[in-house]
């Protein structure tokens, strides 16, 4: 699914985001990327979303070389990915339904198909009864679940999450992680960047540990 081969990212100001990182993620795998602030977690996610390009090395996602991908191809690459942000990035002037429907509208699906899939996604995150509300009417945890529904509604092959539980209390964080596990059980690869080691340790999935842009650990969490 994902292949990092000696991937490095250096910024024009001299800062090195990643040092020749190499690892693989199999299809359907659940993976945490952890490390302190500045370790390179966000850089790694930005590379996977083609928001940035590697300075050197080879980064393959579903067979596509993200170092060589053209700007015109990037939107189509991103349609294979679902992304969940720490701050949800919801549109507050749209209803929950319309927030979740956005990726499907971009795909140009029919209204009937959009409604069917949005209902299904909202059901999966237990928000079926909130479809007509606006994000401002929801709690932080519910907003995050709307973000997750939007990320999975187009049935992506890969789900990326950047500190998805950063603003949540432990109970809500565990609940959100449960949602990610449910999604993963349906076959979607899940990659979560998080520094919540306590939570990660409880879940017993593969964990990559970054430190100052270098991979210093690759194994099951809690071991």
């Amino acid at each position: 699914m994902i292949r990092f081969e000696q991937v490095a990212k250096r910024y024009p100001n001299g800062h090195v985001g990643l040092h020749e990182l190499s690892f693989r993620v199999r299809r359907g795998e659940f993976l945490f990327v952890t490390g302190h602030s500045g370790a390179g977690k966000s850089t790694l996610l930005r590379l996977l979303l083609a928001m940035e390009r590697p300075t050197s090395g080879k980064l393959l996602l579903a067979g596509q070389d993200l170092g060589q991908i053209s700007n015109a191809q990037i939107p189509f690459l991103r349609r294979q990915i679902g992304v969940v942000f720490q701050n949800h990035q919801l549109l507050f002037d749209r209803t929950v339904f319309n927030n979740v429907a956005l990726p499907l509208q971009i795909l140009g699906l029919s209204k009937v198909e959009v409604a069917k899939r949005v209902d299904s996604a909202l059901e999966r995150v237990a928000l079926s009864d909130k479809a007509e509300l606006y994000p401002g009417d929801l709690s932080t945890g519910q907003q995050q679940r709307v973000g997750i529904a939007r990320a999975i509604v187009h049935r992506p092959a890969l789900l990326l999450a950047d500190e998805p539980t950063g603003n949540l209390d432990p109970r809500l964080a565990a609940e959100i992680m449960g949602v990610f596990e449910d999604i993963n059980r349906l076959g979607t690869s899940v990659l979560i960047a998080s520094h919540d080691l306590t939570l990660i340790a409880r879940m017993r999935h593969r964990m990559l540990t970054l430190q100052r842009g270098r991979l210093i650990g690759d194994g099951e969490a809690g071991q």
């Binding site: 991103r78 990035q89 956005l102 198909e113 076959g187």
Partner: protein
């Protein structure tokens, strides 16, 4: 790895080399062969329909702001268009160009009416001649007697002193071409004198050229202002929707998908401005017309200003929509690259 099923990427997502990329159809054996043309067309139309409705909804949310933007654009459109319409009316009042540039061929006194008619027919066949009219010596004398009021005195003359005349109307009004035509006509047999009032033609040409240039300059200036107005308005809309654009880009929206509602918005502003401008011009010309009719009546004329011809009105509307679209395109092209997801 906790997955119970590992479906292929292509089974769940429909990345396509075209925008938009609708869902692939599932078959019994779970294979797919991509969307058919009808599905793609429906998706494309649906995308445009929703962009248009979204733009209308957003304009409707700020009716006063939208109206004033259209009004500013309408004023910018109305000034050059109004001046151009007034110039057309002045041209109509002053007679056609061709009439102002007629060449009078005075024939020799010994040329008969038959000679004159033959010469007229010959002249009609010359390139650059739109019309040729022969006025015989007798016709000329009759007209002169009527117009001068010297009928009795002229009848005392031993013979008709007036020559026959062929009045030639050229096809084009262009000084060198007119002069060349005059010289050619002067060399024809039985022609005593070929007269062209070039000074009058030059003056008229200069006045109208000045008018045209003024209108052109004003049009360029105001069209630039209009593009700036629409560009700035669209830029503000883009700024207000920055987060939305970033999210759309992150979930796979192409640049054309992001651009589309803004282009519709620009075109809608242009349409509104075009309708307003048409209305302002129709009202303005109608308002002026009363005074013009009164003034021309004092000179014994029935001249009246023509309104906005439907063809000109439609051109104005189309031009306004096009300008709105272009202005929006420029604004979006300038700002879209700055809105890469962060």
């Amino acid at each position: 790895m906790s997955a119970t099923r590992s479906p292929k990427v292509s089974e769940r997502v429909a990345p396509k080399p075209a925008d938009p990329a609708p869902e692939k159809k599932k078959r019994g054996n779970d294979e797919d062969d991509g969307p058919d043309f009808g599905t793609l067309l429906r998706a494309w139309l649906e995308s445009h329909r929703s962009s248009l409705l979204d733009s209308l909804r957003r304009l409707g949310k700020q009716p006063i702001g939208s109206f004033f933007t259209c009004l500013v654009m309408a004023v910018a459109l109305s000034l050059p268009m109004g001046l151009s319409l007034l110039l057309s009316n002045v041209e109509r009042l002053g007679g056609s160009w061709q009439r102002a540039a007629q060449i009078s061929l005075y024939l020799k006194l010994d040329a008969s009416s038959r000679d004159g008619e033959a010469l007229r027919d010959q002249i009609k066949g010359i390139a650059g001649v739109a019309e040729a009219e022969f006025v015989s010596r007798d016709q000329a004398l009759n007209e002169f007697q009527k117009q001068s009021g010297l009928g009795e005195a002229l009848r005392e003359l031993p013979e008709n002193p007036l020559p026959g005349v062929i009045v030639v109307t050229p096809k084009e009004v262009d000084k060198p071409a007119l002069e060349a035509l005059r010289q050619r006509l002067a060399e024809l047999p039985r022609v005593e004198l070929a007269q062209l009032d070039l000074v009058w033609v030059e003056r008229l040409a200069a006045i109208l050229k000045l008018g045209d240039r003024f209108v052109f300059g004003l049009t360029v200036l105001l069209v630039s202002a209009l593009l700036l107005v629409i560009g700035n308005t669209i830029r503000l809309h883009i700024e207000n929707r920055r987060i939305e654009i970033e999210v759309i880009k992150l979930v796979g929206g192409t640049d054309s998908y992001v651009r589309r509602p803004f282009l519709y918005m620009g075109a809608l502003y242009g349409f509104g401005a075009g309708v307003l401008s048409w209305g302002v011009l129709a009202f303005g010309l109608n308002w002026l017309n009363d005074a013009v009719i009164g003034l021309s009546g004092l000179y014994g004329s029935d001249f009246a200003l023509a309104g906005v011809p439907p063809a000109d009105g439609l051109s104005l509307l189309l031009g306004a929509v096009l300008l709105g679209y272009i202005g929006a395109w420029i604004a979006v092209a300038r700002h879209l690259s700055e809105l890469a997801p962060r």
